[in-house]
Amino acid sequence: MNRFAELLDRLAYEPGRNNKLRLLTAYFRETDDPDRGYALAALTGALSFKHAKAGLIRDLITDRADPVLFGLSYDYVGDLSETVALMWPKRAVSRDESLLGHPSPQPSPTRGEGAEQISARSPRKISKATITALSVPTPLAGEGQGEGYRGLDASDDHRRHNNPPPPTLSEVVTTLRTLGKTELPKQLARWLDELDETGRWALLKLVTGAMRIGISARLAKTAAANLGGKDAHDVELMWPGLSPPYLDLFAWLEGRSEKPVNRDPTPFRPVMLAHAIEDADFANLDPADFIAEWKWDGIRVQAVSGRDEHGHIQARLYSRTGEDITGSFPDLVPSLHLPGTIDGELLVLREGRVQTFNVLQQRLNRKVVSPKLIKEYPIHLRAYDLLSDGENDLRELPFIERRARLEAFVKKLDDARIDLSPTVTFDSWDALTAARADPASAGAGEDADAVEGVMLKRRDAAYLPGRPKGQWWKWKRDPHLIDAVLMYAQRGHGKRSSYYSDYTFGVWTSGEDGEQLVPVGKAYFGFTDEELLQIDRFVRRNTTEKFGPVRHVVHEPDQGLVLEVAFEGLARSPRHKSGVAMRFPRISRLRWDKPPREADRLETLERMLKSDASITAP
């Protein structure tokens, strides 16, 4: 575990891609099986421990430390694993008895190991009358600054000898896989006691699955490929058939065995993504090279069917990141009765009409799928690409040929739950601009409300994993814009921790007390790094009140900051005081030039709700 923790720690500070690769490859070279395989699994997101949720980690720390202090610390650090790793008060068990010969004191929730024991003997007890000033060479601290307290070093050594050694990565992974939910908290606490700060941090990152150290799965696979001088693409292709700790992969990379074959009948294939198109891009693009489709406001999925070793059809649904989401959509599985791989959009259809994303949302992230849910939110797959047909991998073919195969495949499927995503006819960019502005009259008809723009795909584009340049473009509908007033700010998380980067904004309405601002949304991105610094400074200088982590920022008619907010859609929401909820809001501009009194009014949003018939609460 310590070698892995050290790797994560170094990766977290290393900005350069090549240096990251060097660190990773060196780790794979120096570390034995199966540890390195589990490390690769952790870095590619292939491990998940279903019982180890963030809530459990919170319970552990609030059990061991003061919940208020934890809350303040978490707000400050902005990362759960790191907060707990840093403040974890170790429980010094045996050493107090063995060394001091008296029962160990209750560990203090707020102190490091041994702290209580020290303070019991601290100068606190010395009467002020006899000594006016007392020199303390000791920091009186446990795990803290440490160099002064004389008894500590000896007992520290003693502890190292008596306590079990920190666990290996393989021990952690295999134990977590077999451990029941009830035993987990105790085991985690034991490991946290055994590890140092970096080790605790790495352990918690690992078990909660939230690594976020700037390493993509692709980078980790590339580093593994480099170990054997292989192409990362080869690793990518065989990946779906491999499983941790990847003994066969490393054996191949080290030239000890043959290339592993992918035997999974329903493997996930890395998806192809589009670039957002800018106005300037059109000048260099020829309309004749492209096919356009509607961009549906649903969920991108990959539906894979294949025959297992008994010849039975197996079907699986994957999210665009490769997460298996079959369990949430059992009603779609029977429709996938022909071997093949469809790339398409998951939508809810009622009486043949596509529903908005708000409606689809009711079907997402469900653990239990009731018959009622299935009936009221009938799921549908709108297909736009075919990656394999039977045994044949079609990904090398140009899009125009895959499209023809897809049309035949969908026809052969002959299933009401699966249809083709139609193409949009256009002969010039002007024609496409018109279609995008009015999908209803350009062929989308009654489904126009679920269209969020158009997709452009090169006729000759092979299906390539990732976001290859110039092949696929997305051209989203223009967002709605309003001017709102910054009302409250909160510190961000992760990279933004310590910066006030989460903003609640409001618009004017007439209330009982006259004109007042009512919050209509929250945004935490859209601004540049420079703008973030400016807003952060503004928030700190214009705080009128603090409620825990939330700062109340001045918002008067003549004083305050106006934010131009962009958003994709509106829905009525009884949960919000304003009665509306925004979809995908972000800060598009800072309006330092605009006094708050000139910001938008709630009525403007209500008008948008009325004019957009598609927007109704689910």
Binding site: Y13, V77, R111, G112, L134, P137, P139, Q145, S497
Partner: protein
Amino acid sequence: MMRLRYGDNFAASTQAIAYGEELRLGDVKIKFHPAGHVLGSAQIAVTCKDTCIVASGDYKDASDPTCAPFEVVPCDVFITEATFGLPVFRHGNAADEVKKLLASVALFPERAHLVGAYSLGKAQRVIALLREAGYDAPIYLHGAMEAITHYYQSRGVALGELRPAKGMKKADLAGTITLAPPSATSDIWTRRFPDPVTAFASGWMRVRARARQRGIELPLVISDHADWDGLTATIEATGAGEIWVTHGQEDALVHWCKTKGLAARPLDLVGYGDEDEHEAPPANEAEA
């Protein structure tokens, strides 16, 4: 030191006072005690009749070869700083952090190491720690560090051979250590160094996101402020029944005091607190 930092007119009138020397103003007795923060830093104890109030100022209870060690002054009211007043701040041993720096210097002999450190106190402490660790090569200084550092030397703090970084040939700085104000380590000033490794010596480096936000590759957790364990242990050691908390993360420390049955409240001093997070260097450090 005040004169060096703020110029000859830093105060209308001045009066020198030694640690332990007692002043009297009517019924009030005033005494200065070492705060262990930087050279000359003091806590001030004010006593009137039976009541003693101690204002800690910035302090640390960790050892520092460049200044007198912190003294616990028993009192009734203790006004404590709280720069690192959250239990996530546990600084560890500064000597270990210096070992990390030396290990990196050994690993990258072809690169220069730039250590961001506040020019008053931190820089001199890092140099002294490097010397304690047996590093005896010349250490290079950014121009803004020179006056204060030479002042430390004039007060008998041994810092070994120091050289200005200015005027050095780029190639000759390979494998060397240079101390600079934090703002300079992300400045075009760094272009004179061969492929520099950027380090920063600060208690804030305990939190990963802080180091990453500043683009630090080698965070060194070395602080001239008490960490959480130091703050809480010191509060207990003073025996004070009432604690006023200022200058930093007041909320957590006030809460902790209350759970220990101590009366406590935050002192919201104008110009202190949150802004300190960024430890913005004074304007004169930005130049040179």
